[in-house]
């Protein structure tokens, strides 16, 4: 018995010596099926549009994004229990003209399509919160040629529930005072920073973000807050050296009141943007928030106002 085991062991070890090594990595991930992506952000007074598309497998070069045009999509008004069927209007978009979402309304959506797991979601439209800009002033130029812009906002909401506010700068324009000649003065998203401790920093290092997030924990009365942004060098240059003294710079701030789902979704998008797309065995991919049960995407309501901040 000893000799047999001895010989077998020698044979085993010699066999191992003959094994060649390999450098290629083949994934063992078994995800071969596309999932349904449902995206719908609805506002009061406007028709609700639901977009359906597929995911794609990134390791499969033959896998592509496709719009889903043959799904059964229904929306339920949870306040009235009325069910509305949405029809396909092209490029994966589904719509109905039988109703429009209202402030405070709660809605559920379901979508069934052959070859996909059915999806469903529920969300509501928050009550309108009126936003006003109470103050704006500019700081001094820094050595890098930048200039800080301080903006104070005030939100007014009658809701007793927790309200979720998100705001972002969606446009910058140079506007001539006289001839309405518009042209962009900078590219890329404008980054914001808030020193208000009630606002949420998606990463604890309080970095600049494209959106600011604030929830009021159900408190009534106006919520005052502020944010800071840096005017880019082009804009600063415009102020500093531009001889076009007749031009103003407009910043457009979109202030939104959103449902909690959309609030979490925007935060996860912000983390995704800050974190980047490193995809490795030593990092964890960012999970983008989704309230779509059985799929991906977002189904949520919001209200918004556009504030135009003039810098001159």
């Amino acid at each position: 018995m000893n000799k047999t085991i001895y010989k077998a062991s020698i044979f085993f070890f010699i066999t191992l010596l003959c094994i060649s090594c390999s450098n290629n990595f083949d994934t063992q991930s078994e995800n071969e099926l596309s999932r349904m992506v449902l995206n719908s952000v609805f506002t009061p007074g406007e028709f609700m549009t639901v977009h359906l598309a597929t995911t794609r497998q990134i390791l499969n070069p033959n896998s592509t994004f496709r719009n889903i045009s043959t799904a059964d999509v229904e929306v339920t008004d949870n306040n009235t229990s009325q069910v509305y069927r949405l029809t396909h209007i092209g490029e994966g978009n589904y719509q109905t003209d039988e109703f429009r979402p209202t402030f405070g309304g709660s809605y559920s959506v379901t979508a069934h399509a052959t070859g996909f797991e059915s999806v469903q979601a529920t969300s509501k439209v928050p009550l309108q919160a009126f936003v006003s800009q109470t103050d704006v002033y500019q700081g001094e130029f820094t050595d890098e040629g930048k200039r800080e812009l301080f903006v104070n906002l005030e939100f007014h909401s009658e809701s007793t529930e927790t309200q979720y506010y998100v705001w972002e700068i969606i446009g910058k324009e140079k506007q001539a005072r006289n001839d309405f000649d518009f042209n962009d003065v900078g590219e890329g998203p404008v980054l914001l920073f808030s020193e208000d401790s009630r606002t949420e920093s998606v990463l604890a290092d309080e970095s600049f973000q494209t959106r600011i997030f604030l929830s009021d924990d159900g408190s009534q009365g106006p919520v005052q807050t502020s944010f800071v942004t840096e005017t880019d060098p082009v804009v600063a240059f415009q102020f500093g050296d531009d001889t076009d003294e007749d031009a103003d710079v407009l910043l457009e701030v979109r202030a939104m009141t959103v449902s909690e789902d959309l609030y979490e979704y925007f935060k996860s998008i912000e983390i995704y943007r800050l974190r980047g797309e490193v995809n490795s065995s030593i990092t964890q991919p960012i999970d983008i928030y989704s309230n779509i049960d059985g799929g991906l995407g977002i189904f949520a309501g919001l209200t918004s106002e556009i504030l135009k901040i003039k810098l001159n």
Binding site: I19, Q28, V37, L59, D205
Partner: protein
Amino acid sequence: MRQITLLLFILCLQTVVTAQSGQKPIIFEEVKLNLQEIISFVESKTDVKFVYSEDRIPLNKQLSLDTDSYSIKELMKEVANALSLDYKIKNNRRILLLGEKVSNPTEQFRYVTGLVIDELTGEPLFGATITNKQRDKGINSNEIGLFKYKASSDEDSLVISYIGFNTASVAISDLKEDSKKINLRPSVEFDEVLIQTPLARKLETESTFNYYINKKQLSEGFGFVGSDPLNKVMQLSGVQSGREGQINIYVRGGSPDQNIVLMDGVPLYETSHVFGLSSIFNADAIKNVQVYKQAYPAKFGGRLSSVIDFKMNEGNSYERKTSIGFDPLSVHFNTEGPIIKGKSSYNLSARKSTINLFYNEPIEQLLGFDESDFSFFDVNLKLSHEFAEGNKLFFSLYRGSDQFEIVNSESITSTTESLERQNFDNLKWENQIYSLQWHNSVSDRIISKLQMSYSDYTNRSRSAFNFSQFDGSVTSETELDIIATSRIIDLGLNADFQVFMNNDWELNFGTGIQHHRYDPTIKQSTVILDGDANQFDNDSKFITADEVTAYVDSKWKLGPSTQLNAGLRYNNYNVRGIEHSSLQPRLSLIQEFPNDHKLTVSATKMTQFVHLLVNPGIGLPTSLWIPSTDRLPPEHAYQLAAAYGGNLSSNLQFEIAGYVKRMENVVEYTSPFDLFFTFVNFQDIEIKFDANRDWENFVETGDSFSKGAEFSLQNRKGPFLFELSYAWSDTDRTFEGLNRGNPFPYKYDRTHDFSIAARHHFSDAFHVHASWVYGTGDAFTLADESFIDIDGIERLDASKRNNDRLNDYHRLDVGLQLNKYLKNESLLTLGLSVFNVYNRKNDYYVYLFEDTTANEDNSRFQLEEVSLFPILPHFSLNYEF
């Protein structure tokens, strides 16, 4: 006047005689005599006369005197004790031997104590087996070699055995209530007796399928850097090791922090030196190790998965020995010897790395680093003093420090994109422990152990990244600097008692208090900071916790082949004014069968009050230890296990085991800023960083369930020894906020884990060894799909958490050892080994990057793997004198 003078003379004469009789010591020429010989000798040397009846006195009974010089009273006390004799001394001249004491009919037993030691070194032998002649009952010696035995009147001798030593037989009459030393001589002949030593031996009467590995077995090195005690532990079935650069241990679905690793009873928080090439356990300094993965005694607690209990060498108390050794990674030195011969001893071991002196450049070229600096050192010191047999004081010290620094850059270029990465990594960690232990045989039935300990662990890491990406039109650069600090200070006071009720019943109980201080911090900056990491220590307050423990544990022999172990452990943990308490029952039943087969069934609960937030993958100690808090509850594990094993033949021993284990409140770190993520920022910003103490907000707690089966086979006789072990396991975790609340594989779930280690002794001067390990690759999360969001931007997504696996890991190591005994009784040992013989490029980590082609709708993603250690030869030279 004449009468008075005569009277005075007679009185003085009597006084002189009395003085001569009572005060002059009796010097024996031999100490092993029977009673008749003692009587004859005393009567020949003094004027004492013995009066006795021959049929009532055991004249032929052998005695072993403790010393060779006695007064009459001392002699009679010792003889009477040994033989249970009644006697009377009259006028210091007549000794009446009245016969054997009439004992209470119910007390036909007496308790004896013994101390089993190595005859050559004086070191106590833990786990020696003490049985009666019939070997139908037995006990083990404890960690200082002490044992208590209840001897019946019809028993006259005990058999003491220990692997690697000659068996000894001791007359019970030679043993007393206070301890007596029993010397065992190592078996020095190269024959089947010596090389019967198995690679790991189970305590023969422990019978719970836990493991005990003694010094000789620990010195049989299979590791890359020669003998490494922790490598021996990782060869056991059900004990899984980490991969390249990792020396973490995973036991039955548990994470690395769920193993309590002790050195002389003091818990350690880090057990590896740089890159996992070596553990902190110096083979010269370690005497033995016990490993428990089930049926834990109640005195152990604080972790969920295993107990690994290392004991340090006490040193040779008879003669001094020194050894020095050298290998390409380190120089090591060991010296041991007596302070007071036979009473006090010391053992001092030290290691210092030589990597940074000689091998930085070759390693940089081999592994592709631009710059590197690896260094470590450690020192072990143990002092022991024996006040009396069974009464010993120990002082233990360990200090170790590691420094690890690499600068690395990499370029990846495709037809339309290039990526450049530069990173700077610096790690420093330090361990220091101090321990004072007092072992005492308090009475004929009680042994006590009191211990004070202090431990200080500091880990500071820094990782700085610079990424530059050019996608054909735009170059974007990102920077990130992360500094993490973890410091833990523990103060402990423990008291343990071992009560020997009888040979079939042993009771253990104890209590302890521990004071912990935790200081975990992570800071980040989006630009690379100037200066050393310790410049950025902040003054954030640390967290303190106080812990009280108590336990009781009992072992009953219900019959000749059935044993029941039952225990209960209590922990009270107070942190930030919040108390966590836990009662942890421990139960195991052992049934013996013919041919040394045993079945063990056990049910245990373990509780853990500290958690490790793990740097996800690269195996360097850039992790944080955090205590349980009001928001982070303690972890609990409930395990049912069964094991069956025994001898297949005189050579082969096997074991089959199975378990199910449920764990509650396990933690996952969910912060978006793992220590190695990239940070994309489209605008330059000023230096800005802040301490992150909000780890509680980024930790998710959930449950884990693990099940598995283990098999091992070992050949323990003959010149060819081998041990084969295989484990199958399935471990998943469920967290409400992760993976949509669905279960997912645990990162370190290793479906298959296999190892085989073999050793062939061609002679006592030459042997070869080889080992092969195989394991399923670690699980990780790959973003394997993408979708278009509401803004029309493509986003990556992982369909499931831990949906992919690294390639299976396997490697072959071989080596040989040559021993040369020199004229002055010194020993020269040369070791040659090759790590990863067939140069397997095992995955260290993999990453995905996008190779955009002309077709924008069909972007190609590629998976690239990074490996660490190729084939690596190694040698070592050791000189012992």
